[in-house]
Every structure is written in C-alpha cells, then in structure tokens.
Amino acid sequence: MEQQSTVLQPLTFTVHLELPDSELAFAARRGESVLAGARRHGIVLPSRCEQGWCTTCAARVLSGELDHSAAARYYESDREAGFALICAASARSPLRLRTHAAAELRDHRRRCGLPAPRG
C-alpha cells in the first residue's frame, strides 16, 4: 500500500518589527500582507497606495523571506538591496524588519535610475 505523506505548512509566521523608537512582534497569517497583519494587531505603519507601488511602506529586511508577487511595482534591485514593500508582501518565513525605510528606498531607487515617487 502506497504511503501518503503530508507536508504541514505553518499557518502563521512571527514578524518582529523594529520601529523608530520601539520593537514589536506579531503573528502574520500566511498569505496576508505584513501591513494587514500589523493592522489586525493594532499596529499602525506608514502606507499610501497599499498596492506595492508608492514606496511609503518600505522596510528593511533584516532576516527572512517575503512574497512580493502581489506588488504592483517591486524591482529585483529592491530585493537585492534588502528592501520590502510590506503593504503588498506576505511572509514566507519568520521575519525581522526595520520599518520607516521609505527615504532609504527612494535614495536607492534614484541611484539605480528607477521610479521613486514622493507623494
């Protein structure tokens, strides 16, 4: 008789946030954006377009992996430089993020000749 194996996927990932003046952690659900998960826990983070375009929500990825497939505009160079657009990115693993990195991402985009809207 053939034996069936099942790989159990975690339903949530722990997300640690380094905010400008504090640190917080919460459990993000698989598939939800980090921003949406933070909101469920009463954590207010910067955002504007909420579709992964404007860079207002940018964060530095200190550890972990995110899925940016829902982001409207996320470049490979953003990923290589360690930035995430948390309004449209979901956790693929436990995460440690430093939030409020929009100015850094915009500087990076400008150095790369990529769009970096301000408003």
């Binding site: 377009c49 409207a72 769009p115 301000r118």
Partner: protein
C-alpha cells in the same frame, strides 16, 4: 527677544530684494514657514501624475462597465473630476519653480498611485480581444472594476491628506487647492463604496450623494477656478 513672525523674521531663505525677478516672495514665504518648496513641488508633481494617469485609466475602465449605465455615469464623474484636479494643481507646480516632466512616460512613472489597469489584462499588457483583430470584450466583472476604482480613490485620499498635513498653516495656497481636491476624492470613495457594496455584497451603504448635476461637475475643484473654468 526673538521674533516669532514668520513673515518678517530672518529665518530660512534669503529675503527677496525689491526688483529682483530671480526670486519669488510666494516661494520665500512658504520656506520661512517651514515647508521645503522643492520637496513640496516634487510631491505635487507625483500627485498630479496620479490624477492624470487615473483620468486616462478611468477612460478605459468606464467603457468596460457594459450593462451598468449607472456605474458608468459615476465613473465618468470621477474621471472628469480627476482631470480637473490635475489642471487645478499644475499651475501651482510652476509657481513653486517646478515643471511637469517633459516626457509623459516620466510623468506616469512618477505617479504616487499605481496604474488603475483594467483587471485581468496582465498589468495592462494584454491586447484587446482574444485573437488579433477581434473586437474588444470585457475581461473583468463590474465587481473587479469597482474594486480598482475604489482603491485608486483611497490612494488619492491618502496622498492629498498628506499634502494637506504638510501645508496646513504654512502654505495657504497649496493647502487650499489640496483641500478642494481632497473633498472630491472623499466623495469619490463614498460613491465606489456604495456601488461595490451593493454589487459584490448585496448590501446598501449609501454615499449620501446623488449624481452630479453635470458630468464631472467638480463642485469643489472648479467652483472658483484658477485656470480650469
């Protein structure tokens, strides 16, 4: 005792000398009140770009609301009013010493809000029809289109709210223009909440509004027009 009069004290930019046409008091006074005029005008360009691209994309979206004439009419009001917003804010960019980008592709890339693509078109890359040369058919439901419209309005509200915050009590002219635009964007959100709620969920959530008297009436952004009568 230090002066607290932002209009006359020496803080910030160099004062404009009589007869000097290389400087503008209209910019100097903004800087003295704590707003970086260059940063502000760049934000205004990005916000203006969002209004312009939205005007374009709504032109597409409204055409694919076949069978929902009421939705089309509301989309048309929002479309024309977004164009009014672009026209209302563009002169302010020049007054602050800036310019719209010379290349429309640059303008679109700078938009502070995402392209409001017709859903299920692979980010706008799909050509119309299923076969080359065939008629355009809708790839999206009314619910999908209304969702795009709603989120576009929400991005606009956040953008103009940020500009109002930045200029409140400091740059009276930009604040007044941004406030007019914000008023209409909030009305647009209410319209699309109402329509999406009934279309998708079967729940009535009234906007509190009736249709505009004339299409794209823009009661806030063109009630006392600067340049878009």
């Amino acid at each position: 005792m230090a002066s607290t009069n932002a209009a006359t004290d020496g803080a910030g930019a160099q004062p404009v000398m009589a007869g000097d046409v290389t400087q503008r008091v209209g910019i100097e006074q903004v800087g003295r009140r704590g707003v970086d005029p260059v940063d502000l005008r760049e934000k205004l360009i990005d916000a203006a770009a969002a209004e312009f691209t939205t005007y374009y994309y709504y032109t597409v979206l409204r055409n694919f609301l076949a069978g929902h004439e009421d939705y089309k009419a509301v989309c048309e009001d929002a479309r024309l009013e977004d164009r009014s917003h672009f026209e209302l804010i563009a002169p302010r960019i020049y007054e602050l010493g800036g310019t719209l980008p010379f290349d429309i592709r640059t303008l679109a890339d700078r938009s502070g809000c995402p392209d409001a693509h017709l859903p299920n078109t692979w980010g706008g890359k799909a050509s119309w029809g299923l076969q080359p040369g065939s008629d355009a058919v809708s790839p999206a439901t009314a619910t999908e289109i209304l969702t795009v419209l709603l989120e576009a309005e929400r991005c606009a509200i956040r953008s103009w709210s940020a500009i109002c915050d930045l200029t409140h009590g400091k740059d009276y002219r930009t604040f007044e223009l941004a406030m007019r635009i914000l008023n209409e964007e909030i009305e647009h959100e209410a319209w699309f909440v109402e329509l999406l709620s009934i279309e998708r969920d079967g729940v009535g959530r009234p906007s509190g509004h009736f249709k505009r008297g004339d299409a794209g009436d823009a009661p806030w952004s063109s009630n006392r027009p600067f340049y878009n009568p």
